[in-house]
């Protein structure tokens, strides 16, 4: 029983990271209807920025905030320069664009900081949480930061004018434009926020998976799985999906014989395909009707 609780809690902790990634994916998907395959690399790059700042002697939380600001600006810059011109292009062109971005970011990070594995500090410490053996303080911190972030985002989207404008621009762009919302900038804002959320996920997971240019590969796929499970049109769904995928992954790795650590990734992928086949809109997504 203790093993079970332990695994569930560990699953919730990693699930928090998947939830962040899924949230970042959904933010961009809402804004431009495309999956950002470069999301993980953007998060990785931000994490390296944070690491570099700390190497220069900036205290942890200042580095954290500076990195968020940098990622926010970077996200907006990428949207303005690279993806705004592609807005009307076919899906295929956009996918190629995301892959190109992936290659560029990965290679530049590798060139700047090389491919050796680096330690990343945690502000929470790794001692057992409140003297219990079930969960470490870093894991508890991961859950805490994610939950705090979710509450902030919820408040932002429900109770601020900009949040409302962003929701309007995402759901009905034409009507939003008619009432004077600058939809183009709302999209850029979505990119900036997604990039910053990704940075948070990267910084939180870096002490666990260690820092190197390919660190986000697996995390991004779980993020996709989470987003699909919850429904690509629903931020709440993305979060719930993240926690579910985290727990599911851990339990499957522990209890299904022959799965172990090696097959965890295919399990997440099988989950994606199963959900897509049974309920294409995801658990919380809206069904889409096509007009001929």
């Amino acid at each position: 029983m203790e093993l079970f609780i332990n695994q569930v809690l560990a699953g919730i902790a990693t699930g928090a990271i998947y939830a962040c990634m899924a949230l970042a994916v959904v933010m961009i998907y809402q804004a431009i209807d495309h999956l950002n395959f470069a999301q993980g690399e953007m998060a990785m790059f931000s994490t390296f920025i944070a690491w570099q700042l700390m190497q220069w002697g900036v205290p942890y939380w200042w580095a954290f905030l500076l990195t968020l600001a940098f990622s926010f600006a970077g996200g907006i810059a990428i949207e303005r320069m690279l993806f705004k011109p592609l807005a009307k292009a076919p899906i295929l062109t956009n996918v190629a664009g995301f892959i190109a971005l992936f290659a560029i970011v990965n290679s530049v990070a590798g060139l700047t900081w090389d491919f050796t594995i680096k330690q990343f500090p945690t502000p929470f410490g790794s001692a057992p949480f409140l003297g219990s053996q079930l969960i470490s303080t870093h894991q508890a911190g991961m859950i805490g930061v994610t939950v705090g972030l979710l509450i902030l985002l919820y408040l932002f989207f429900q109770f601020t004018r900009i949040g409302l404008a962003m929701r309007a621009a995402a759901s009905l762009p034409e009507s939003a434009r008619l009432v004077g919302i600058n939809t183009s900038w709302m999209i850029a804002l979505g990119w900036g926020m997604a990039s910053a959320i990704g940075a948070i996920a990267g910084i939180l997971i870096a002490p666990v998976v260690f820092l190197e240019p390919n660190m986000m590969g697996g995390v991004l796929i779980y993020g996709f799985a989470a987003a699909v499970l919850g429904g690509l049109t629903s931020p709440l769904g993305a979060v719930v999906g993240g926690f579910l995928v985290g727990v599911f992954e851990n339990l499957a790795g522990t209890y299904i014989p022959g799965v172990g650590n090696e097959l965890k990734l295919p399990i997440a992928l099988a989950l994606i395909i199963t959900v897509l086949v049974l309920k294409p809109a995801g658990l919380f997504g809206r069904p889409i009707v096509k007009r001929v």
């Binding site: 999956l35 011109p85 899906i91 996709f224």
Partner: protein
């Protein structure tokens, strides 16, 4: 319609390509063919090997092109089918002593089956969801190949070594050259078959589905059948390419068939021009040679150079090599006047 439903005018995944614009004229085809036949006679064995790989990747890109340019579905998981083809050939040759030439059709048929089966769940997905599902397939494949359960056959992480075939009938040419011409014959056969497929009734059904699925089904096209068929055909050709690849490289191992390969093939299609079959060769040259050139400019920066070039292609020639070819054709037309 209830209030929760969302209505979209979904942009099609691929821009429509007229059927005529999918191939080269006879004259140009013959010139290209002539070049491909003569080229290896003047090259060293290593370059002949690279040309062979060029043809093999061109076949895989062509297969993807039939799926995407033909039926409008797209796949980031071609590396999985390529891997299945490669392993089929390798296992048949090494464990059962089957002749290398015979392993190719078997690899093709097995991959056709896999593709057809994968096409079944994929039926319910379109656009970005399909990209995601196939992406998942590509990521999972190397790990499945490493499984202890299959290790007796696949050699696990170590993979399998494949013997390189000699030229038959005691022909006085090197193994590399023989393999090149063998690949060329297979490639030409598949190219001609693909062109004919796209011009046939089935090809028209593919294109009708690509341009408007609902309209196609209203005209009586069995959408489910043709979509899975497109997946099957594409996977089958990719499987043959995989088999050829295994023979040419003389080695199969799980890490040779990662998502990177799938992405390369996808990029090859974009660079060559979606729906333009001859573009497959141009795209294949791009994915084989550009990383090498990029690496010679700056080691470690190859990914960045690759990405920047790709952005240039997307922005300057969104239709890839096809666009360049059309412009060239118009220029030649003007010169003639």
């Amino acid at each position: 319609m209830s209030a929760v439903e969302e209505v979209t005018n979904e942009a099609s995944a691929v821009e429509a390509v007229p059927k005529r614009a999918m191939t080269l004229g006879y004259g140009t085809s013959l010139v290209v063919l002539g070049l491909l036949i003569i080229a290896p006679m003047f090259l060293k064995n290593f370059f002949v090997f690279q040309l062979t790989m060029l043809l093999i990747y061109a076949l895989a890109v062509l297969a993807l092109n039939i799926l995407t340019g033909g039926s409008g579905q797209f796949s980031l998981g071609q590396s999985a089918f390529y891997a299945v083809g490669a392993y089929t050939s390798a296992i048949l040759m090494e464990h059962m002593g089957v002749n290398y030439a015979l392993t190719l059709p078997i690899a093709g048929i097995i991959c056709f089956g896999f593709g057809f089966l994968f096409g079944q769940p994929a039926l319910r997905l379109s656009g970005i969801y399909l990209a995601l599902a196939t992406f998942a397939l590509a990521v999972a494949m190397p790990q499945l190949l490493k499984l202890g359960f299959f290790e007796h056959w696949t050699g696990g992480v170590q993979g399998l070594v494949v013997t390189k075939p000699d030229a038959p009938f005691g022909l006085p040419i090197s193994q590399d050259r023989w393999l090149y011409y063998f690949t060329l014959v297979v490639a030409i056969g598949i190219y001609i078959a693909s062109v004919n497929l796209l011009r046939s009734r089935s090809g028209r059904a593919f294109m009708a589905i690509r341009d408007n699925e609902i309209a196609a089904s209203a005209m009586g096209v069995d959408v489910a059948l043709y979509k899975t068929l497109a997946f099957g055909v594409s996977a089958g050709i990719t499987g043959v390419a995989g088999g050829l690849g295994a023979i040419a490289v003389q080695f199969v191992a799980p890490d040779g068939y990662t998502i990177t390969l799938a992405i390369s093939l996808f990029l090859g299609m974009v660079v060559g021009g979606v729906g333009w079959l001859p573009g497959s060769i141009v795209g294949s040259a791009f994915i084989i040679f550009v990383p090498n050139i990029a690496e010679s400019i700056s080691k470690g920066l190859s990914g960045a150079v690759f990405g920047v070039l790709l952005f240039l292609v997307i922005f300057l020639v969104p239709h890839g090599a096809r666009q360049v070819a059309i412009v060239a054709q118009q220029l030649i037309g003007k010169l003639k006047k």
